[in-house]
Symmetry: C2
């Protein structure tokens, strides 16, 4: 790709966790974040200062010198914000896992998606080079530009279309959000018995590390996969006072047993 086609100047729309982490990652790799566009002045200016960018609250004052406009706003705001930018043919991407690219098609003739698959929290710095970035674009040229930009900040860049991205986002709910809630249940139950949650942390990290391999289920341990009904009954008894946790215990145990049976039959 010729030098003059490479993305060098970007505008970030939004100033939340994802906008901040992404703007910083691009800034550190020598991309000019020339403007932060955000309705709330305080957070917008704060991010702008961090990446030495201009700031505006006016969606019609987007800086047209940019090669790329990155929408890092909530899913439900993408359509309206995109259309209020008046970009015509400027390259515009959103950063959402669950919104199709086409939602941008009224806003510009050059569109794409730049979806970093990670959980971003406010105060925790993310190693972006290890964060998968999923790319989609409406033309080969736009795709090439976005791939090149993504590879600047991440070693894990993948082309993913809108349909695949929705599946990916849904599975991230299981692997991320739901596993996190399993920790919450454990913490909750331990608290009721005055047992320190910290005792489970090495187990949690070790379990996550097993997911580095393919076929996670081959490493499944515990009473359900062993078919240890005695222990499962004891656990159910302990959970009797905790209705919904017992339901979860039963349903997941049942599903593990079913999965094992299915695998054994294969």
């Amino acid at each position: 790709m010729p030098e003059d086609q490479k993305i060098q100047n970007v505008v970030i729309i939004g100033a939340g966790n994802l906008a901040t982490h992404l703007a910083l990652a691009l800034h550190h790799k020598g991309i000019n974040v020339i403007q932060v566009l955000n309705r709330t002045r305080a957070t917008g200016e704060k991010l702008a200062r961090k990446v030495k960018a201009g700031y505006t609250a006016d969606f019609r004052a987007a800086d047209f010198k940019a090669d790329l406009f990155i929408l890092a706003v909530s899913d439900s705001a993408i359509f309206n914000v995109a259309n209020s930018l008046c970009l015509k043919d400027k390259l515009l991407v959103h950063t959402s896992g669950s919104v199709e690219m086409e939602v941008l098609s009224e806003a510009s003739s050059n569109i794409g998606v730049f979806y970093p698959l990670q959980t971003f929290s406010k105060n925790k710095r993310i190693n972006f080079s290890n964060t998968p970035v999923c790319i989609e674009a409406n033309t080969n040229n736009n795709e090439e530009k976005l791939l090149q930009l993504a590879r600047l900040i991440s070693k894990k860049v993948q082309l993913i279309n809108s349909e695949q991205r929705k599946v990916l986002h849904m599975t991230a709910v299981f692997a991320g959000n739901f596993s996190s809630f399993m920790y919450t249940i454990a913490e909750d139950l331990l608290k009721k018995h005055d047992i320190p949650f910290s005792l489970l942390k090495p187990l949690i990290m070790q379990t996550a590390a097993t997911a580095k391999h393919e076929d996670v289920f081959s490493r499944q341990t515990g009473p359900a996969v062993r078919g240890d009904t005695k222990i499962m009954d004891e656990h159910r008894e302990m959970l009797a006072k905790h209705g919904v946790y017992m339901e979860i215990y039963d349903l997941i145990s049942k599903s593990i047993i079913k999965h094992k049976t299915r695998n054994d039959e294969l």
Copy 2:
């Protein structure tokens, strides 16, 4: 504690994952594993060689020079194996999270529990210094001996009675086994859509790392905690063909929403 009361020589009964990891950890810290006792010769001799110990398959040939006998056998075998050892007053512990200490009371007058809370797999070496070891004993003197031994191999030693240990083990099912099964569901669904599971691995590790903090729920993300019914409906639609996964999606989402409501009301 006087030097001559410290545990120096141990017999390991069993040669599975836990027996192997524990025997190696003790051996590396200068404790003499003088004998491995295991019904299956091949695995027993293999472990014995690793820790320069003797080997026997005969449960009545336990080496009485040992200060401690460690039962690392399956939960259901503990009672019978313990009673076949004829130990009288020799210090005997089991290593199970879900079996009360008293199961050993017919086998010896000096008993305890030495429970390392971690998931042990065959080929993966464990950093034992980071593995919590939960101790229980029937006398102060036995407790002191076991604490001292545990502190040799682990920085995280905790007194935990039988009732607490059962709760701890049950919560480990949620935090370990069930979170692992959430990865399996994700892997399974991605495979059906030809999307590489490796894309989720950084998210999984990052999510596990949030459990280093207290109050994991304050870091909960995803559509359920946001109350994003539009996305949840889309996910349910994608899961329509996967009955039990949809049930799990619904139940955990419902539970997250309930948890949030309860927290908001506090």
